[in-house]
Subunit: 627 residues, 2 copies
Amino acid sequence: MQFHHEGYVSGEPRVLEAAGYGIDRAAELPEEMDVLIVGSGPAGMIAAAQLSKFPSLNVRMIERRGGRLELGQADGVQARSVESFNAFGFAERIIAEAYRITEMAIWNPNPDNRDEIIRTGRTLDDEGGTISEFPHLIVNQARVLDYFAEVALRSPGRIKPDYGWEFQTLTVHEEGDYPVEVKLIGSAGEQAGVERTVRAKYVVGCDGASSRVRKAMGRKLEGDAANHAWGVMDVIAKTDFPDWRLKATIHSKNGSILHIPREGGHLARIYVDLGEVPLDDNHAVRSTPIEEVIRRANEILSPYTLDVHHVAWSSVYEVGHRVTDKFDDVDDESRTPRVFITGDACHTHSAKAGQGMNVSMQDGWNIAWKLGFVLEGRSPASLLHTYSGERHEIAQNLIDFDKQWSSMMAKKPEEFESPDALERFYEDTFEFPAGFMTQYKPSVLTAGDEHQELATGFPIGKRFKSAKTIKRGDNNPVHLGHLHEADGRWRIYVFADPAAPGADSPAQRFGDWLGENPASPVVKYTPAGGDDDAWFDSKVIYQTDYTQVEFGDVPKVFWPEVGPWKVNCWEKVFANGLGNDIFDTRGILRDGAVVVVRPDQYVAAVMPLDATDEFAAFFDGVFTLQG
Amino acid sequence: MQFHHEGYVSGEPRVLEAAGYGIDRAAELPEEMDVLIVGSGPAGMIAAAQLSKFPSLNVRMIERRGGRLELGQADGVQARSVESFNAFGFAERIIAEAYRITEMAIWNPNPDNRDEIIRTGRTLDDEGGTISEFPHLIVNQARVLDYFAEVALRSPGRIKPDYGWEFQTLTVHEEGDYPVEVKLIGSAGEQAGVERTVRAKYVVGCDGASSRVRKAMGRKLEGDAANHAWGVMDVIAKTDFPDWRLKATIHSKNGSILHIPREGGHLARIYVDLGEVPLDDNHAVRSTPIEEVIRRANEILSPYTLDVHHVAWSSVYEVGHRVTDKFDDVDDESRTPRVFITGDACHTHSAKAGQGMNVSMQDGWNIAWKLGFVLEGRSPASLLHTYSGERHEIAQNLIDFDKQWSSMMAKKPEEFESPDALERFYEDTFEFPAGFMTQYKPSVLTAGDEHQELATGFPIGKRFKSAKTIKRGDNNPVHLGHLHEADGRWRIYVFADPAAPGADSPAQRFGDWLGENPASPVVKYTPAGGDDDAWFDSKVIYQTDYTQVEFGDVPKVFWPEVGPWKVNCWEKVFANGLGNDIFDTRGILRDGAVVVVRPDQYVAAVMPLDATDEFAAFFDGVFTLQG
Ligand SMILES: Cc1cc2nc3c(=O)[nH]c(=O)nc-3n(C[C@H](O)[C@H](O)[C@H](O)COP(=O)(O)OP(=O)(O)OC[C@H]3O[C@@H](n4cnc5c(N)ncnc54)[C@H](O)[C@@H]3O)c2cc1C
Ligand SMILES: Cc1cc2nc3c(=O)[nH]c(=O)nc-3n(C[C@H](O)[C@H](O)[C@H](O)COP(=O)(O)OP(=O)(O)OC[C@H]3O[C@@H](n4cnc5c(N)ncnc54)[C@H](O)[C@@H]3O)c2cc1C
């Protein structure tokens, strides 16, 4: 955590100084705003947290509910989401309070007595942490939202949800500074029933599966005709089921359960499979009483019993695999999109793979930084086309995967080719539910893979997979990727050739070019008057042992002067040492390489150290010169 | 973190439900109270945080200042303190914001040019984490206090400092329920100048080096006649000194510096040695101007320069090695002590070894749980004699060590026998400044070492050194010691013999005895009506692989029913597995052993599994039967 450079921070350093619209944020929803976020679920909250780092923009988030979410909904948090929480500064706190999945138990009918279940297997979740150094967590969606709300409020923009406002509909006008006209109605509190019209430059629909923003755009969720239904309950119970505190998939002759222990050591969530919902069901399944869900759970768990002492939350969760054909309001690129949908508003999938909240957050993060860039004038408006371009494909892949997953989970034990087929499938595809399979295709934001072999451990289009290195300065072993905060900056990682710092070498020349040449994006686009690293965070990693690296020898771009007192930043120089060799861990050739990473942590490009033209050209496609 | 068992917690789980005096805590300082803590420094704050876990007691903490500490004072946080922060639930948060020391640089005059300094060595701080899995941190004392204040406020007793009250003096009366009469005067805010008399059962003086509580008790700090003075400054500066972000000891022909980088990446604290203060100085040294301190720093750092751009805090810190002869108000054990002093009020030492804040916290924790026990009637009042008994010796040892340390640091380079003598000394004695040398002597709280060989890795009298094991239940690898919260409970760790759970074996028999036999302290002392683990947290650790352990087979005391819904607690059964063998790591003989740990994490006893009489006798010395 870096702070104090703008003045001594005596209190909580996680509270950043207010700026722009954050300084005297209007309590009332204004008439006009830059961005209106509709809905404060995971997608809306992450978008607000990200946009609060762009305080020059007036961003508001309305929410139909009268206050914070208290209970229920999703609880599965993938490692990729925890990595994202880290970028927003609250990973360590939510980890400390969440349940951590390290193992899943598999239960099936006892072949000797099919009336009873027995444990037939266990699979380790990300054994040895090869997929991620972050854990796989289970925690109430409400807590995830709380933490993001805190980030939004503590960031310079001081964004707070406007509770009690319901989106009704919108019209996109051809002209005007605020072309999107939005009709709202008060849904709680003093404004209940009050109708209002507001105008925004952009609207982001984060309003869940029955999204009105989606309807207003004229898009539809398409896919499965029928839904699959689950009786879901968060319960405190007395039970002799031995794996009460383990994630477990349970198949019995009486049906199946997905069992998820919850944070705090006592609560568990039980998903009782209620099967495919007939097309003519008309949501009748939703009135399945909780007693019936508990009765079925007991049947499935036999010979064990489940004596529910307290139901904290329950619901019948009915969902199908569906996706809209596009996530914005334009069918081609003839005009700038003005309205976007994210999360459940544009894709839904079964509860089993625990994807909903996680993918929704990545949608919200993706659109948020892009809106920040376009509205601040860092990038052309055309950048906004990449949102639907990138996220639609991911949603489609996910649904394909999820279908496969769900059908595996729904299979009767006797239908599998081999007894460990489920276990095997789970292990083979583990990267997917952990959230790391996303790989963006080449676009203005993602370079081609011509130079991929320079750094095979940083696949272009996938998220930057962190590794340990030594932070010269304090000589602490650190995870390089964990320093990537969600502050809207691009990261430029210069992995140096073997020469010592200071010697004339490709890395030294690249560093000097980066900091000084008028063609360098850092020089060309960084606004005058602020810090030299305001928009680009450039870091160098040497192959030599950290004891061989002195700051006086590194190019100035890696030791810039920052803050009102113009003192050096000592956090951008890294090196091998104390058993850490990131070149080895991430397959970086010893000739060195430049790795470019987007604000949302995806690898945008890998280039050789002498490819300054190519490097400049890449950024010329993303940034625009300030007016 | 365990929660939800008393009801569904939708918000921050770190906020515990209010109870007792916490439910409607009076805003005004009352006339009478159980405990009055004087001073809200590290010693007072930890005492308040601990006593807030005993909400049936009316505890107040007065503080002369009008509000929270904002700047300055100590900043070195030993691993033992971080371990303690973990017990109070905020380690992960303070670690995330603190500076972490992993290495110290050593600078000396360049033998070829004695006008300039050069780096002559580096020492790794706790290389490989052999001393502790917790880091050595640097963070503003104000933040440490903030976190403890938060714990005190979020714990059931809801204790908040009463700012703006200054302690004047006290009288201990022979009789009455509240025998200590205390005179206060308002020192800030509305009550400034107002005199008040309050009465308490016990008073804890945490009022720093010029303690009035100490004076009121008639005790004196004795020791060095003279003080050593340091010009201390927290600065933001531009410098070419290469180790600006490393802890460094710098000796030059112009004097010496202890350099401490601070949290946030930019600030550093520089201690400029101002030497021994003449006896007739009359605090003249304290008026050394900051310009002079900066000038000297520049002289010492030559050939490097230090261009101070901002001074966040500075002070001349003048201190000697001193200790009072006893830490309570009785000279023998003929009556119960009523007044205690902690921290700087009873011992002071040089700033160099960075001990002040750390030892003070251990004092505060020690007296706090004991007062909780005595006032709640868990223990006889005689327990309070152990406070001075235990902590006085520690303070004396510390001062002896600190003198040696300080004189090493003050030595001129040419005075050392060998060039790496300082480095060597630093490494050899590292456990001391890390806070782990404390070892309590046999007493009512610390058994003899007759059975030490059963568990050599848990030295009796030292703090329980954690190790990894598998928590059966969720099958997570966990650090056993990190589950020890500062909740006032004793821990009973039953390390089982090799038999499988359920088989008739010493561990099984001990477990059954512990949970069921009328002579067992758990049965005898645990108050009726509450949870079976309310006062004793009993855990079992099996040698077998965790996959061989099922809850149905373990003695009930390790799978108790808790909370209003009487559901099982699944967090007390552990086993080897996934590469973790705590028997191996901590030298526990395969026949098993019982390890008893006090509420403040010190090992009280090691016993064989069949020593039920001895075990019962130990606790009969600590607990009293409820009236
Ligand atoms: C009852 C329920 C149970 C669920 N159970 C599970 C589960 O068991 N497992 C699982 O993996 N996933 C579950 N989900 C899905 C999971 O919660 C979602 O995938 C995830 O929350 C998607 O995030 P989102 O931000 O896209 O939408 P949501 O979290 O749905 O957030 C949408 C927000 O928009 C608000 N809103 C809606 N319409 C308007 C409007 N017109 N104006 C203003 N605000 C509006 C809503 O109040 C809500 O706060 C459940 C969802 C629901 C609703
Ligand atoms: C100015 C200063 C600089 C220091 N610098 C360093 C340093 O550089 N390095 C280092 O290691 N240590 C330093 N110390 C020492 C370190 O802060 C202490 O060792 C540590 O704080 C001891 O904790 P404590 O709780 O015993 O006492 P303190 O932290 O001193 O707390 C005592 C508290 O009691 C309050 N108080 C005092 N008298 C009364 C009264 N009559 N009534 C009510 N309240 C009262 C005080 O306001 C204070 O809040 C410094 C101390 C001071 C005062």
